[in-house]
């Protein structure tokens, strides 16, 4: 697979999962989204402006930047919430709950009818989460600060990786734009991406969740 994979291992409290994952994914998506393309002809295009907003976290002393797009924010939040709910529902008496969630960028390759286009990932960001017990003891403050420090390091690392410009698909012509970019958003144009997750060291996900995920993935593609 000619793709770049980047993984982060973080331990956090259950209530911090959503924000930790969101701050990493939104930082990546902010870099991996451009303004909407307007093609003048097959090869020539102009790009609209991207706006950005600051997001203050509630459970960590952290602010991250994300694209100003309600639809994109909603989709990312839904996926992360599903993962967070599942992870936090895991019984952690024997071992701390663990799970991973990935943000995968891919491009489509046309296939002969009646087959679906092939999806080829070119960059995958995975966050491995391990939940720690949230006790209001004296070291909570230092734990909280360590999460923030880890997150700061990850953000710096993300910017370092993204500015290396490897594996990124070339700018497409008009007819191929849908194979590279997700053009379904009205206000932003991210590279095609999907978010998937799984839990490890825990009972398998419920049938209902698995089916729901399968249906969603199918519809998405």
């Amino acid at each position: 697979m000619n793709a770049r994979t980047i993984s982060f291992e973080l331990s956090m409290e259950g209530r911090q999962v959503d924000e930790v994952v969101a701050s990493i994914f939104h930082t990546v998506l902010f870099h991996r989204s451009s303004g909407k393309f307007t093609y003048n002809n097959e090869e020539s295009y102009s790009i609209r402006t991207v706006s950005y907003v600051d997001v203050d976290c509630d459970f960590i002393d952290f602010t991250y930047v994300c694209c100003e797009s309600e639809a994109l924010g909603h989709n990312v939040k839904r996926e992360i919430s599903d993962f967070s709910d599942l992870l936090r529902a895991v019984d952690g008496t024997s071992s701390p709950p663990r799970g991973s969630i990935s943000l995968e960028f891919f491009q489509k390759r046309r296939a002969r009818w009646p087959f679906q286009p092939e999806c080829v990932p070119w960059e995958v960001w995975t966050v491995y989460c391990e939940l720690t017990e949230s006790r209001p003891d004296h070291d909570m403050h230092s734990k909280h600060e360590s999460v923030v420090e880890m997150l700061q390091d990850k953000i710096v690392f993300i910017t370092e990786i993204i500015n290396r410009h490897e594996y990124v698909p070339k700018m497409p012509s008009r007819s191929d734009a849908d194979l590279i970019f997700d053009t379904s958003y009205s206000d932003i144009q991210p590279y095609l991406f999907k978010i998937h997750y799984n839990l490890s060291g825990a009972p398998s996900t419920t049938v209902g969740n698995t089916v729901r995920k399968l249906i969603r993935d199918t519809l998405y593609l």
């Binding site: 930082t27 902010f30 870099h31 451009s34 303004g35 102009s46 790009i47 609209r48 402006t49 991207v50 706006s51 950005y52 907003v53 600051d54 203050d56 002393d61 952290f62 602010t63 991250y64 930047v65 100003e68 309600e70 403050h141 600060e145 700061q152 953000i155 710096v156 993300i158 910017t159 370092e160 993204i162 500015n163 410009h165 700018m171």
Partner: protein, 420 residues
């Protein structure tokens, strides 16, 4: 090092690259300064996009910030200047006048990190946009960001300064952390932003006032939400207290009652005092009718005037708030004021804006320009008429002194209320 001649296939590309780099610098400085205003960027908070924004990013274009960048980055020497580094210094100043440099952002063109394979200028442009996104992201994670977000509720102000050449890293103290905010390899070298920021936030005493005790705790700038930062006093050791001579009361600071003081007794004492020594109601000296005619060549620059007023201010009510003063030695470029703390949706904001506009107002040239040329009678008459008008205006204002005093008291009172 990649020589400029072979780095690009033609002169147009070189010129385009220079232009892109120039705007990268302008936008980069804007991003840094915007992030230190202490304002959270909310959805729909920005004006509609024009679709002609540089690097397809909605970054503000503050004329004041652009001017500061322009001063440090001459248009005819863009690449040379960035090769020798362009810096944005962020510092904090407390209401006691203590200041500390928090971080130093640097835009640099490192000639050793070149990549001659990158030829297409639209790709350079696109990647510079990504570099700016990295800068936007990194500006949110340094300690100064959290500090600047608190400046509206705390008694300090963040300043910035743009300069080129050798970085003044000593001002950051001994404990410094450096973060690279992306690096774009181009045919002329690696271009990128980096930041050096202090990790030790204890403030050192003001060098100009050696008698001043250290007012801040070692964790004074602790950024944890648990700590209330910028407490105004530090408990001194008892021993230190014994040897410490009594300090004169600083009238430029607001007088506050100590804890457990009986307010009624204090008020009575004040009333008794004022009864014995009443405050004169009209403190305005009677001036000659046409001061401009008598001393036309003695007009000072407004900055000198401001300094005089500040140094002569007898009480805290008459002096402008300290955080609005931005004096530096003449050799250093002035630091710019970023925002007015406590002034959101408050009537005092108008006063603050007025103060800011006129604090560094240009030298009044009217009298100087006109008088030397007023050789013929008509011009002289014109000048006299002008001065008469001014005198009338002055009289009008002098007669309204009571109203002004009342207004000022009201404002001070409302400021105190909002402060509480």
């Amino acid at each position: 090092m990649a020589p400029d001649v072979v780095a690009f296939s033609n002169i147009t590309d070189k010129n385009e690259f220079t232009k892109f780099t120039k705007f990268l610098a302008y936008k980069g400085v804007q991003v840094i300064v915007e992030s230190r205003k202490g304002v959270k960027i909310e959805p729909n908070s920005k004006p509609l996009t024009s679709d002609s924004d540089w690097f397809n990013l909605q970054i503000p274009d503050s004329p004041e910030v652009n001017q500061a960048t322009k001063n440090a980055l001459p248009s005819d020497r863009v690449l040379e200047t960035i090769r020798s580094q362009l810096h944005v210094e962020i510092s904090v100043q407390t209401e006691d006048g203590d200041e500390m440099v928090l971080e130093l952002w640097t835009l640099e063109l490192d000639e050793t990190q070149f990549d001659t394979s990158l030829k297409a200028m639209n790709t350079v442009y696109f990647r510079m946009g990504i570099l700016l996104k990295s800068l936007i992201t990194i500006t949110r994670i340094t300690p100064a960001y959290h500090l600047s977000r608190k400046q509206r509720t705390e008694s300090f102000t963040i300043f910035y300064r743009v300069y080129n050449g050798e970085p003044k890293t000593k001002a950051l103290g001994e404990h410094v952390k450096k973060v690279q905010a992306g690096l774009l390899k181009t045919p002329l070298g690696g271009i990128g932003f980096s930041v050096m920021y202090r990790t030790n936030f204890s403030i050192s005493p003001n060098k100009t006032e050696k008698d001043k005790t250290l007012l801040l705790k070692s964790d004074h700038f602790e950024l944890s939400p648990k700590h209330v930062i910028f407490e105004s006093k530090k408990k001194k050791d008892v021993k230190e207290k014994e040897y410490k001579p009594l300090r004169p009361v600083d009238l430029n600071k607001p007088l506050r009652l100590a804890a457990f003081v009986d307010e009624a007794v204090v008020r009575r004492a004040f009333e008794d005092f004022l009864e014995k020594f009443p405050v004169p109601k009209f403190r305005v000296a009677i001036r000659p009718e046409s001061p401009l005619i008598e001393k036309p060549l003695e007009s000072k620059s407004t900055q000198d005037l401001d300094v005089t007023i500040l140094s002569k201010s007898p009480t805290s009510f008459e002096s402008p708030p300290k955080k609005f003063s931005g004096f530096r030695s003449e050799n250093e470029p002035p630091l710019k004021l970023l925002c007015f703390p406590f002034a959101d949706n408050h009537p005092i904001r108008e006063l603050a804006e007025f103060y800011k506009d006129f604090f560094n107002a240009p030298h009044l040239k009217l009298a100087d320009d006109i008088i030397p040329r007023a050789r013929d009678e008509s011009l002289k008459e014109e000048v006299e008429m002008l001065n008469e008008d001014l005198s009338k205006d002055l009289e009008l204002y002098e007669s309204s002194v009571l109203e002004f005093d009342q207004l000022l008291e009201d404002m001070c009172r409302s400021a105190e209320w909002s402060g509480n």
